[in-house]
């Protein structure tokens, strides 16, 4: 069979000549003598094209300057290798590119922040703006760096006795913040983008939360922007809340902070959707609600 062991001949011959017991002197003698043409004949070479054989013979040329370079040999061999079918991921190229052009829908994740934290509060790192006047623009809220502790922010606002207080909430959440925040529920939904409004029994202190992605035309470290309202109701039963009411808004929210029990949040939408909010049923004046009972639930939009 093959008298000299080189990789290609081994591959075609199916035999490792190196292990066939040839000693160093014999290998040297056969290598320097050159590979005879008879080595490329036999049953193992049936079906092997002549061009490939010629390439191998040129590689085995005794004169090193008679051998092709690696690049030249690769280029020659490339013409002999049949074109393989494209991988499945590339084959439907037209379909794939058309899919890429379509913007994928945002991924919505429902999170609930702070409900199981030690103080039942938001993490203090979250920037919160509280105002009774129209809420600041979202971009301004994102830029806000001086973040007071939530307790300090909410305590004065909730100091009223038996009064309904509306707090505008603008929170920019980064991935690291989310990692630190106690996320008690994480549920994927395929809801349409834009904003969501939440009103549920389990979160009685929350009136609306709207989540919008940070402005794309402005670089921001925020992964999502939570705009919402915390309605700090007096300590009422959950049955006082209207389960079905919900509202939506787009990019900005303003609210009225009232002292009366009929204070209804007013949502000023951008250009797309208008908001309609049905206020919670007037709570019965009771003892002031401790701020620590506030919970925030939000629909978070993760930036891709």
């Amino acid at each position: 069979m093959l008298t000299i062991s080189v990789i290609a001949l081994d591959l075609i011959g199916g035999k490792l000549s190196f292990f066939a017991g040839q000693d160093h002197a014999e290998c040297a003698r056969r290598a320097t003598r050159g590979i005879p043409a008879s080595e490329f004949e036999g049953a193992d070479w049936d079906g092997v094209d002549v061009e490939f054989v010629n390439l191998l013979r040129s590689l085995l040329h005794p004169d090193p300057y008679g051998r092709p370079t690696a690049q030249a040999a690769a280029a020659a061999l490339r013409t002999m290798v049949p074109r393989t079918a494209l991988p499945a991921v590339i084959r439907p190229l037209g379909t794939a590119t058309s899919k890429l052009r379509r913007k994928p829908p945002p991924r919505f994740v429902e999170i609930e922040i702070g409900s199981r934290s030690p103080k039942n509060s938001l993490p203090v790192e979250l920037p919160v703006s509280v105002s009774s006047s129209p809420a600041p623009a979202p971009r301004r809220a994102i830029r806000r760096k001086a973040v007071p502790a939530l307790e300090d922010v909410l305590s004065p606002a909730l100091s009223g006795t038996g009064q309904r207080t509306t707090i505008d909430l603008a929170v920019s959440v980064t991935a690291s913040t989310l990692a630190d925040a106690p996320v008690t529920s994480l549920k994927k939904t395929l809801e349409p983008p834009r904003v969501r409004a939440i009103r549920r029994k389990q979160v009685p202190r929350l009136e609306e939360v709207a989540v919008v992605p940070p402005p794309s035309d402005e670089p921001s470290s925020a992964d999502l922007l939570v705009l919402g309202k915390i309605i700090a109701l007096p300590d009422t039963d959950d049955s006082d809340l209207d389960e079905g009411s919900s509202s939506s808004c787009t990019s900005a929210m303003t609210s009225s902070s009232g002292s009366g029990t009929d204070a209804t949040p007013v949502l000023s939408s951008g250009d797309a959707s208008s908001a309609s909010s049905s206020a919670a049923q007037p709570p019965q004046p009771k003892a002031p609600a401790p701020w620590s009972r506030l919970k925030i639930a939000a629909y978070a939009v993760f930036r891709r």
Binding site: V6, I7, L11, V48, L77
Partner: protein, 111 residues
Amino acid sequence: MEKGCAGDLVETIVSKTTLRRVKNILLGILEGLAAVHDAGLVHRDLKPMNILLSDRSNEARVLVADFGLASPVGADGKAADTHFVGTAGYAAPEAYLRMRVTQACDMFSVG
């Protein structure tokens, strides 16, 4: 560093693979060698045990390994020393003759 999960070329040789796969493997070796030679090196110890395959498919990636005997080539395209390095049975004739080898000695081992 990439793993050669399918082992070296010895198993492929013994198992008598198809001609198409032989060409694909050789093409991978030659492309790897071209990169090595472009870097100004000569491997000097190409053999089936130093060729690793990423998987057992026909389109497996070929990895050239074991550069322990690799040597840079000088301005004349030759390695500095004239010692016989490599493995008997895979070395080029000029290596047996104790000549300063060039990158062409790797090409002989491929053939």
